[in-house]
């Protein structure tokens, strides 16, 4: 991928600043500084203050950080986010991969199948979440109506603290089209000769999947895994929409977030609640810095790979 005209030969000249390149990069230099680096550092300062956006920030030392150890909601938020990360992400990836694998074997009509599985991803997340609230309505929703015709007593779905996260996962799995298209392209890119060679070696269907397909698409799996984890860490919209639309009239009260029983109080929801419902900006900054630390570790996997490019 490297441009010809090797770096080594030009190294001596590269001390000089490449002004055209700097000019082209200027907007992004500025954007990176103002909309990313500055807020990241400002978090550190705000986390040491009491700040509600209206009255000026007041320095209070480590009080916000100490509050971490007294905040019961914090553990709930971490636990809920861990559920999405450890159960939701593998389920989504496995489902997307299996669908991609099946579509890749279809000879005619695979384009239509791909479109069908991709379609839910285009739905605005808010609209899809509201749709699932209707579909999974415990008493009048179509899903439970069909289940009761089959003699099954459907669960309370979003209204049951034990079922709320699996119900969200159902919605996320429905919207997994993006990953599926990535996997499909990767699977179709595996050279056919590898399969033929494996066949000669006596590999069966599963052997070919395990020894040919999976190793060949490993980079794509890593990318998809990292992306899905990062998505899991910023899990917000679905949880917000479902909780506020089901918890009745008190839509704009902070208490509706996490409904039912804080079972959908994911870490980003907690951050939003502290920052933009209670206006505890200092504590919200503490949470933001924690989120940064965790997502940096996950992004690091990707960065290590990226450092081998160029």
């Amino acid at each position: 991928m490297r441009a010809p005209g090797s770096l080594a030969r030009r190294r001596g000249f590269r001390k000089r600043i490449n002004w055209p390149a700097m000019g082209l990069m200027a907007p992004w230099f500025l954007g990176f500084g103002v909309f990313f680096l500055y807020p990241l550092l400002a978090n550190v300062y705000i986390s040491l203050t009491r700040y509600d956006l209206i009255t000026p920030a007041k320095f209070i030392g480590l009080d916000n950080w100490r509050f971490l150890f007294q905040d019961d909601a914090l553990l709930t938020g971490i636990g809920n986010s861990a559920w999405i990360l450890l159960i939701g992400v593998p389920v989504k990836i496995a489902f997307a991969f299996l669908v991609a694998l099946m579509i890749s074997r279809v000879k005619r009509g695979s384009g239509i199948l791909r479109t069908v599985f991709y379609l839910p991803y285009l739905m605005p997340l808010v609209a899809a979440s509201l749709g699932f609230v209707v579909l999974l309505n415990p008493s009048a929703g179509p899903v439970n109506t069909v289940l009761s015709h089959l003699g099954v007593d459907g669960p309370l779905w979003f209204d049951d603290p034990g079922w709320a996260k699996p119900s969200l996962l159902l919605l996320d799995t429905w919207m997994v089209g993006n990953l599926m298209v990535i996997f499909l392209a990767a699977v179709l890119d595996v050279p056919q000769q590898l399969y033929e060679a494996a066949e000669i070696d006596g590999a069966g269907r599963f052997g070919k999947l395990w020894h040919v397909t999976l190793p060949a698409i490993r980079p794509v799996l890593v990318f998809a895994g990292v992306t899905a984890c990062i998505d899991a860490l910023q899990y917000f919209t679905q949880a917000y929409v479902v909780a506020t639309s089901l918890s009745g009239g008190a839509t704009n009260g902070a208490e509706s977030l996490g409904y039912p029983n804080d079972s959908t109080l994911f870490f980003p929801v907690l951050l939003y609640k502290q920052g933009f419902r209670y206006f505890n900006m200092g504590y919200a900054s503490v949470l933001a810095l924690l989120l940064f630390a965790v997502s940096f570790c996950i992004a690091f996997v990707m960065l290590r790979r990226a450092s081998r490019w160029s």
Binding site: R14, N18, P20, A21, L24, P27, W28, G31, F35, F36, P39, A42, N43, I46, Y51, I103, R105, K107, S110, L113, R114, V116, L119, P120, P124, L125, V126, A127, L130, G131, V134, L135, A140, P142, T145, S148, V181, I182, A185, A186, L188, D189, P219, V220, F223, A224, I230, F236, V241, Y272, G275, M281, A284, S285, A288, S295, F296, A299, A306, S307
Partner: protein, 302 residues
Amino acid sequence: MSTLAPTRRRAAGPQPPRPGLDRQVVRRRRQQFLETVAERAFVIALAFLVLVPFVLIALTALMSNSQTLSASLWPETFQWHNFVEVFERIPLARYAGNTLLYAVLGTLGTLLSSVPAAYAMAKLEWRGRHVWLLMTVGVMMLPPQVTLVPLFSMWASVDLVGTLVPLVAPLFFGHAFSIFLLRQFFLTVPQEYLEAARLDGCSELRTLVRVVLPMTKPALAAVAVFQFTFCWNDFLGPLLYVGNNESAWTLPVGLTQFRGSYQVEWNLTMAASLLAALPVVILFFFAQKSFVKGITLTGVKG
């Protein structure tokens, strides 16, 4: 680029057993054939299952409000006027206008700012280029919540909360994911074209505009449809910055506030949800190639 379309042929299916062929082979082929049929049936059934929510949402959108609370699947009467009524009950047209403004300006800003940066990272040699690539990928990977509090306070201090400016303005200063995606595309442009342009005395900007961009139109289309879709569907940003100013609400924010005096009117909510999804779905059918190309490039080469 033919690999993008799922067209691989595979020798499957039954072939008439030739005389003298081992019986075992015939049995094995038959089993393979049955497996293939079972798998096809399964994936097709799954595809129908994926379409079911759309159908049920549409059916709910056509019911009367009282029927949405009953356990029936089929509308008693098809209330097509629900799709008209939503425009009367909430300012759906205004929400759509705001969303369109956000999406169009956001896409424009993203292209204007990300194309030059991506080109500099892919094709020019300068000190720190590698570090900036890593930082760009880093920004792309971080949740937006990390920078939320200071940014909100910043926009509040210049009194722009309640407008679309905090959503659109940052996109005019580079969008990490788009820069990354475009860089991947620009890498595929052969260096010889650039050298030729430079020999002709073109400036870098001119080379970019006259030589590189015409060759990478599909990339620009992919980034544009991505960004448009993202802005159109975005919720967190609009909720935060225009949530308190109804006149600037976008569709996703408007949808969550759709309720009568006492309860949510689900038939109208579903009708409005479908209408909100429509533009992006139409865009997808017109620009399907760009979507797929963009998605696969992020994943495959990323």
